[in-house]
């Protein structure tokens, strides 16, 4: 079942297309890694798809009314903003707002969803801590837990693992795979190509606002593309543990 369909989505900044006629379909059970160099249009594509930016073309998400969209797709922005010194539990419970949580105490169903999200992100011991006083990486996990508490069929996460320690980076990618196994779809933008190769079921490679490759990691991450798009050479090996990618040096060929 397709959770998100984009048809020739274009986002302009002034006259210049930042996202140029992108068509994509995201299905349940997928962990789609959105990769590409800085400024390739990854964030703009996700925001355009959600309808947070004016765009042309068709996005199945931006056509939904805001309340229905919030129950269908959770969005974790790149900017990690926590404006007020609320406790972790309260912050994560904001993910239940689309399901009707408000000023009064949480319903049993909402409280259970918050518990599941805290457990998934290994934040059980943090529930009463003030979110603004946590470290940057801990705040990132709390904000992802908020998106998980939304329990939407589709999760769009913009660089969720940037700034996390290796253990929590891997744990987070495993959470995405668990979600996919439970029937959700996940789109995650990331810069760590090694983790993208190992933990995504499909990669979408963007450059200059366009999708230049879309497929299984082993197909997308060819040495030619790494050179052409990122301007790097990399060690690539198909091991018993799956695809291993380690960037080595800048290639002579600059994008």
């Amino acid at each position: 079942m397709s959770l998100l369909t984009l048809d020739a989505v274009t986002v302009l900044r002034g006259q210049c297309p930042v996202v140029d006629a992108v068509s994509l379909a995201i299905d349940a059970g997928e962990v789609v890694g959105l990769i590409g160099p800085n400024g390739a249009g990854k964030t703009t594509l996700l925001r355009g798809a959600l309808g947070l930016l004016p765009h042309t073309g068709r996005s199945s998400l931006s056509q939904m009314p805001p309340a229905a969209r919030a129950r269908h797709a959770a969005w974790l922005p790149q900017g990690r903003e926590i404006a007020w010194p609320v406790d972790v539990e309260t912050l994560v419970a904001l993910g239940r707002v689309p399901h009707g949580a408000g000023l009064s105490a949480l319903s049993a169903k909402d409280a259970a969803a918050v518990e599941r999200a805290l457990a998934r992100m290994d934040l059980g011991g943090f529930r009463k801590r003030i979110a603004t006083r946590l470290s940057g990486g801990e705040q990132a996990r709390v904000l992802l837990a908020r998106a998980l508490a939304q329990e939407a069929p589709l999760l769009l996460a913009d660089e969720p693992i940037a700034g996390l320690d290796p253990g929590h980076q891997i744990a987070t990618m495993e959470v995405f795979n668990d979600l996919a196994a439970e029937g959700c779809g996940v789109v995650v933008s990331l810069h760590d190509l090694g983790l993208a190769a190992r933990y995504c079921s499909r990669l979408v490679l963007m450059a200059a606002g366009r999708v230049v490759a879309d497929g299984p990691p082993a197909e997308v991450l060819s040495p030619d593309r790494l050179a052409a798009v990122f301007g790097i050479t990399a060690f690539l090996a198909d091991t018993a543990d799956g695809l291993v990618l380690q960037p080595l040096s800048r290639s002579g060929l600059r994008p």
Partner: protein, 330 residues
């Protein structure tokens, strides 16, 4: 942390207590028991007149003005995600004051009882129109602040111009005293004029609680959680303008309540901007009632102005809060 319903109940009890004290204080020297009796049973004499026509409207206006300033201050801080925001930021109180000043200067204020507050409301209305035209339908919070500051500055400058060119020293002194802010000598006409605007404003601001909560995560995440930001902003501006415009129209400019009350109560609601709305409305009412009681006790017979007292008490309180916040950050 106190449970939220208990906090609201406690604040409401405080407001009721202060309301009663406000009713029982005044230069007429009526004993509490006889005063309350005269309030409920018309004795045909001056006591009922004093209680019903002087003290009751004054106490009611204290609740209404305080609740307006507290609620709109909390809403403004929640929307801008800035604890330094206050309801006057969007230029409404300055413009309402300008309207009132023009009414005093031109003598329109003396022509009929509600001329002055109506002129102030007109000033507030013009300011909102200008603000929304300047900030545009899709503008962000920064555009709103900048447009508000510009309007405030213009209204302040025009008020100074009126004072500067005033040929009549009595009008000038009237203007200065009116601007200091007071609840003395108000009538039920003032209550009746302000109530619809304040009730309407509250009906626009209180439902913003959920949206303001989601804004804790930033505008992008809030929008993705289903909050319609354009609509929220319009309701915020309209609600604040109605409440603060009406408050300024009947009481003059009363500073620091909208800034300090949300600050004082933020810890008690676990910093949740949505819960802060109702709590600040009650807290604001309590603070203005208390200040209005104090002006009658501290200097009886000298007509100490309410706005002067809130600023004298509010500014050091605010400094203390700034100091405490700094200590928390270090």
């Amino acid at each position: 942390m106190i449970p939220f319903p208990r906090l609201l109940a406690g604040l409401a009890a405080l407001v009721v207590a202060l309301f009663l004290v406000s009713l029982l204080i005044g230069p007429a020297g009526i004993s509490p028991g006889r005063g309350l009796a005269a309030l409920f049973h018309d004795d045909g004499g001056p006591m009922t007149l004093v209680m019903r026509e002087i003290r009751l409207p004054r106490a009611l206006l204290g609740v209404m003005v305080g609740a307006s300033l507290g609620l709109s201050g909390a809403a403004m801080q929640g929307y801008l995600r800035n604890p330094l925001a206050e309801p006057g930021l969007i230029g409404v109180s300055g413009s309402a004051a300008l309207g009132a000043v023009l009414a005093i200067q031109t003598g329109v204020a003396a022509s009929f009882a509600l001329a002055l507050p109506l002129a102030a409301l007109a000033g507030a209305g013009i300011a909102v129109g200008l603000l929304l035209a300047l900030a545009g339908p899709r503008g962000d919070s920064l555009t709103l602040i900048l447009a508000g500051i510009a309007i405030s500055a213009l209204a302040g400058a025009l008020t100074s111009l009126v004072l500067n060119l005033s040929p009549n020293p009595f009008a000038a002194s009237d203007i200065v005293f009116w601007m200091l802010g007071s609840l003395a000598d108000r009538s039920f006409l003032h209550v009746a004029l302000a109530l619809p605007f304040m009730a309407g404003g509250a009906a626009l601001l209180l439902p913003l609680a959920r949206g303001l909560d989601t804004l804790t995560l930033g505008e992008d995440a809030a929008a993705a959680l289903g909050t319609r930001l354009g609509r929220l902003r319009l309701m915020l501006v309209a609600g604040t303008a109605a409440m603060v415009g009406a408050a300024t129209a009947v009481a003059g400019t009363i500073g620091f309540v909208g800034l300090v009350v949300p600050h004082l109560l933020r810890g008690a609601v676990g910093a949740r901007p949505g819960r802060l709305l109702a709590a600040s409305a009650l807290g604001g009412a309590a603070m203005v009632l208390a200040a209005d009681i104090a002006v009658r006790i501290v200097l009886p017979g000298r007509d100490l102005k309410l706005g002067v007292l809130t600023a004298i008490v509010g500014a050091p309180l605010f400094l203390h809060l700034v100091y405490r916040t700094r200590r928390d950050l270090e």
